[in-house]
């Protein structure tokens, strides 16, 4: 592997050329509906366009997760029927390995079902709670109403726009802070106007769309966090995001006018 310690050169562009990003896509066979795969494509392409090597590996239930390998975990949404298998896998040794990986500085992005399963628990109606991986200080209970529609959020790094489709209502504990404030849509629970959660380098939210391609600032924030784990703080080269910003603007207009 080509790897330069940060101190070895004063030129950040030299570091860029030598960098590599390792992504683990968690349960792509069961937790990959609603186009969440686009987030992995965005992370890959935006890294490649900057000359950063990218490798993506899939983790499927039953295989052993290597806590040392990944710089970034992606965990998408799935059908309810896939979540029992995934939940079981995370209650075993793989849950501990994921927590270890995140404690070592890996970043994570989770959407919808993935977001719920990174929390403490998911409480279904009239059934015992399903424990989550516990890397986010959030709890989700099942709601009586399904939140389906465009979702527009104001976050610290800019706007985020996407599409929500969930009946779970997620509430944040003191160690997580909201990813943003809901401008249009329902967000975490339809009550407190918050959307998503951030805790360290772990992000969870309800934004499908896919999220990262048309909200590129968040993609770059995650790439930066992930590279930091093995390469120290980095400055990413800017990209021409004209098309991405146009898509975001169009989606924001749709969210405001037709939701």
């Amino acid at each position: 592997m080509r790897f330069w310690p940060r101190a070895a050169t004063p030129y950040p562009q030299c570091i860029m050329e030598a960098m590599a990003l390792r992504i683990v896509h968690l349960f792509p066979d069961l937790m990959s509906i609603y186009g969440d795969r686009g987030n992995v494509l965005a992370l890959q392409q935006r890294s490649r366009w900057r000359g950063i090597d990218v490798e993506v590996r899939s983790h499927t239930a039953g295989a052993a997760l290597d806590p040392d390998w990944a710089d970034l975990y992606f965990f998408g949404g799935g059908q309810d029927q896939g979540q029992d298998v995934v939940g079981e896998d995370l209650q075993g040794p793989n849950g501990a390995r994921l927590r270890e990986g995140i404690a070592s500085g890996a970043a994570a992005l989770s959407i919808c079902g993935g977001y719920q399963l990174l929390g403490h628990e998911y409480v279904p109606d009239g059934a015992p709670p399903i424990p989550g991986a516990g890397v986010l200080d959030v709890r989700t209970t099942v709601g009586s109403r399904r939140f389906v529609g465009n979702l527009l959020v104001k976050s610290d790094g800019g706007a985020l726009v996407g599409f929500e489709n969930h009946s779970g209502k997620t509430y944040l504990g003191p160690r997580a802070r909201p990813l943003g404030r809901v401008l249009v849509g329902n967000g975490n629970n339809g009550e407190d106007r918050t959307e998503g959660a951030v805790q360290g380098r772990v992000i969870g939210c309800y934004l499908h769309g896919s999220l990262l391609p048309k909200n590129p600032w968040l993609a770059d924030r995650l790439i930066g966090w992930a590279l930091e784990r093995r390469h120290g703080p980095v400055t990413l080269a800017p990209l021409d995001d004209t098309a991405e910003h146009a898509a975001q603007a169009q989606a924001m207009e749709v969210a405001r006018a037709r939701t």
Binding site: I33, G35, G38, L41, Q81, G82, A251
Partner: protein
């Protein structure tokens, strides 16, 4: 029944007014009739001499039902068929109304009813068709239907309440569809593709069924045709791809036609050709042939009808415009997109593309699905892409991340302007591939009609 007569006459009145106003009447009259008599569906189909065939599934239902309508016509029957593709219960009732006298007596003698898969449970609760065909079940507009497992359960529940007089025609290669026979009391005919050369061995990223619908253990595939369609079996329980009553032993694909070899009732192998490209049209033909067999129409008649088949609205139909050929492909979900794109790429084309993405209810309000569609296979082959529609910019970003150079992607606002640009950029004699979601395709068809290139679709 007075109520039915009232429903029929109020529905027909609505149709008369719409026609006078120069509007297509594909659904509203049905809505009016259903409001007066919720059981209009059963009463309007009860006196059809050869009964009714419901054709449903995520993809292929329009093409399959049109094939079947052509086949029954070739057998000398008169079908009533919601051929405009208006396939919710109101659209079905509207087609039945248009076919009936003012007292509700049908002029036709067989019903070929295309039914939206989410509407199928409700339709089956109100009528017992002679045949129910299910082509496949893929993830579609998740904002409307939510999850495919939940939808399959609802359809299975409705099927379990059907009488034993209903025959099911199911895709053996789709485990979710094969499972629908589980609670059925009547006969089942399965169809499938047995050609070992059809499809690959690698599971595709859009697969909806990686687990057994019965026991949740992982499914094993000896061959994957598209998404979760293929030669499957459960790794743990006894659930496996059922025996095919009608199977394509071999499939030959070309730029303009698909030929399948099947075993006829006499035991000889017969070739059946449909003048449409794409492996998925082999499945559509198999479904239509299987249903024809169930209602007693022989293979020679059916094969003759399929040989002169003309595609439906946006199903690879062609429109001539200034010496250029527009090939229109309606897409609404990743599986349909991949199948349509596969049909193009099989033939070695380097298409000029006009892609239109809308996010109205009929398109699916969530455009996320474009990220599941395999634009990566298409990207290296795209000579130039024009994008338009309410969510054109999402589509431009999708193409960019699939690897199409930004200089080859052009966003054009306005349906007519987009068509003018795409047609103008193609050389004489060239083909422009038009890929669009439902309401975007309607808008493009209207614009083409205004430009004098095509008829409006309800005149079809």
């Amino acid at each position: 029944m007075i109520r039915t007569a009232l429903a029929v006459s109020s529905g027909k009145l609505a149709r008369l007014i719409l026609n006078r106003a120069g509007r297509g009447a594909t659904a509203l009259p049905g809505l009016v009739a259903l409001a007066v008599d919720p059981l209009a569906l059963a009463s309007l189909t009860a006196s059809l001499e050869h009964g009714a065939v419901c054709v449903s599934g995520t993809n292929g239902k329009t093409t399959t039902s049109r094939m079947l309508a052509d086949i029954v016509r070739a057998a000398g029957w008169a079908p009533v068929h919601n051929r405009s593709g208006s396939n919710l219960d109101r659209g079905i009732v509207a087609a039945l109304l248009a076919d009936s006298s003012w007292t509700g007596a049908p002029r036709s003698n067989v019903g070929i009813l295309e039914v939206d898969e989410a509407t199928l449970p409700r339709v089956l609760a109100r009528m017992a068709p002679r045949v129910v065909v299910v082509t496949n079940l893929f993830r579609d507009q998740l904002d409307r239907y939510f999850e495919i497992d939940a939808l399959a359960k609802r359809i299975g529940g409705a099927i379990a309440r059907l009488p034993a007089s209903t025959t099911l025609v199911l895709n053996a290669d789709d485990p979710i569809v094969a499972q629908l026979a589980h609670g059925h009391r009547g006969p089942v005919t399965y169809f499938g593709v047995d050609d070992p050369k059809a499809g690959g061995t690698v599971a595709q990223s859009i697969s909806d069924a990686t687990r057994c619908p019965r026991c949740r253990a992982p499914l094993q595939y000896r061959r994957v045709v598209l998404a979760h369609i293929g030669d499957w079996s459960c790794s743990a329980c006894s659930f496996t791809r059922p025996e095919r009553g009608i199977a394509a032993l071999a499939v030959e694909l070309s730029a303009a036609a698909t030929t399948i070899r099947i075993v006829a009732a006499s035991g000889t192998v017969e070739a059946v050709t449909v003048p449409l490209p794409g492996l998925y049209n082999a499945y559509n033909a198999l479904a239509a042939l299987a249903a024809a067999g169930v209602v007693g129409i022989g293979l020679p008649t059916a094969a003759r009808a399929l040989a002169s088949f003309r595609p439906a609205f946006g199903r690879l139909e062609t429109v001539q415009a200034d010496d250029r050929t527009l090939r229109l492909m309606l897409v609404k979900n990743p599986a349909g997109f991949n199948a349509a794109i596969g049909a193009l790429l099989e033939t070695g084309r380097h298409p000029r593309l006009l892609a239109a993405l809308n996010d109205r209810d009929a398109d699916g309000r969530d455009v996320s699905w474009i990220w599941d569609a395999d634009f990566e296979s298409l990207a290296p082959r795209v000579a130039h892409a024009f994008v338009t529609g309410l969510r054109s910019r999402d589509l431009a970003v999708r193409l960019k991340y699939a690897g199409v150079a930004p200089a080859r992607i052009e966003v054009v606002d306005g349906w007519k302007d987009a068509l003018v640009r795409a047609i103008g950029a193609a050389a004489q004699g060239d083909e422009v591939i038009v890929v669009a979601t439902y309401t975007a395709m309607l808008a493009l068809r209207d614009a083409l009609a205004d430009m004098g290139y095509a008829g409006r679709f309800w005149e079809d």
